[in-house]
Symmetry: C2
Subunit: 236 residues, 2 copies
């Protein structure tokens, strides 16, 4: 029993990439070309490509074609705050989308986290970081107003929140909680995820010598951004 035709095409493409015949960013034959080569309909060739796109081997671009994906470099968990630089270092296009900037009153939980009084005003910024116009991180940040000036008036397309904060108060320490979450519908839409695609969520508190500066929730699909880092475990 021969494998299904779309499987054969997938295997062929994988071979070409594995053997180095098709290098990173190389153009894959168009769907029409593949369908002629394998004597099948365009939809069958398309299916093969679609499934390889899902595994991250290929990347589609409407109007241009399909290409062998660039292997993502690994990023250190310690350096995610510089996600912007990391993306640029890879030669990719970085941009940021501001979702919301506002002041809110701290509820009990947030007050404890930021070590401020309950009900006091807290700055919140909600940003999406894009790599080649694809969202790679949603950043929800809650800033202790006692530590920094007019935080919300900054231009977040020029500098990251982390940079503004470290200018206002040198950061000495960071505490993390890392967990896997199932994003809700809103989040899913903002990050352009398939419904119910799980995400990595990193909760980070940054400290200066004067206390808690900010609390950030960094959410990103592991399918688009890989993480690494070194920890010593502290049981809590």
């Amino acid at each position: 029993m021969a494998p299904a035709k779309f499987e054969q095409i997938k295997q062929y493409i994988c071979q070409q990439v594995d053997s180095g015949q098709w290098q990173e960013n190389a153009k894959v034959p168009s769907e029409n070309a593949l369908s002629q080569q394998f004597v099948c309909s365009r939809m069958t060739a398309r299916r093969a490509i679609t499934e390889l796109c899902e595994t991250g081997l290929l990347v589609r671009s409407q109007g241009r074609g399909t290409f062998v994906a660039t292997l993502k470099s690994q990023s250190s968990l310690m350096e995610i705050r510089n996600i912007c630089d990391e993306i640029r270092e890879r030669g990719h296009h970085y941009s940021v989308k501001v979702i919301e900037l506002k002041e809110i009153a701290a509820n009990q939980e947030l007050a404890i986290t930021l070590e401020v009084d309950e009900g006091s005003t807290v700055y919140t910024s909600s940003l999406i970081h894009l790599e080649n116009d694809l969202p790679v991180q949603l950043e929800l940040r809650y800033v202790n107003p006692n530590m920094v000036g007019k935080y919300l008036e900054n231009d977040f397309s020029k500098h990251t929140p982390h940079e503004f904060l470290s200018m206002a108060a040198p950061l000495t320490e960071a505490e993390h909680i890392i967990e896997a979450i199932m994003p809700n519908a809103t989040l899913s839409q903002q990050l352009q995820l398939a419904p119910n695609e799980p995400c990595l969520e990193i909760k980070r508190r940054t400290f200066s010598s004067k206390g808690v500066v900010s609390f950030a929730r960094l959410i990103h699909p592991s399918s688009r951004f890989r993480l690494g880092g070194r920890f010593s475990v502290t049981n809590t």
Copy 2:
């Protein structure tokens, strides 16, 4: 501009699941039924279902139909050593496949990791943990022979390596490195992964009061097993 029709169908299905109208294991309308309901072709309804299967929300079964998947519970990173218990607690079937048990001579890197002399004999065990016959973790373990007796002669289908080790030497501490990796072909086959599917790799050193007991590499597809845990960051 209305979203594409297959997106509408996806949203509809997600709503039904989110709202609890369709519970776990509930039968989803057949592709034909959906295509009539949304006045579209079967292939369009099929696409919606296909993409939701990929996210793990739905499960297909040829000849029977499509069903709402059983949601996986989240597991704590601190407790992965008990992956066996966790799986059983979920009411799933746990089993273990022994790939290899042998002794090797420590090379420089391994010697440093285990804090033994270079060239000394080290026990290695290679196990695959299965949940409902699906691999959820590959465990490559290197054991310091000075800390434990005849490690390789244990019955790993009855107890986990971690349990044997903690019987021999009470574990006081653990150190982790967590990173995302791209498995090689062998690994990919052993874990039954799609080509180029990324995995989470946790490198763990466990300590007793006498020193390093073992070094383990825990590799698993995040698509099958989710992680969480609490850390304080220690910069290295």
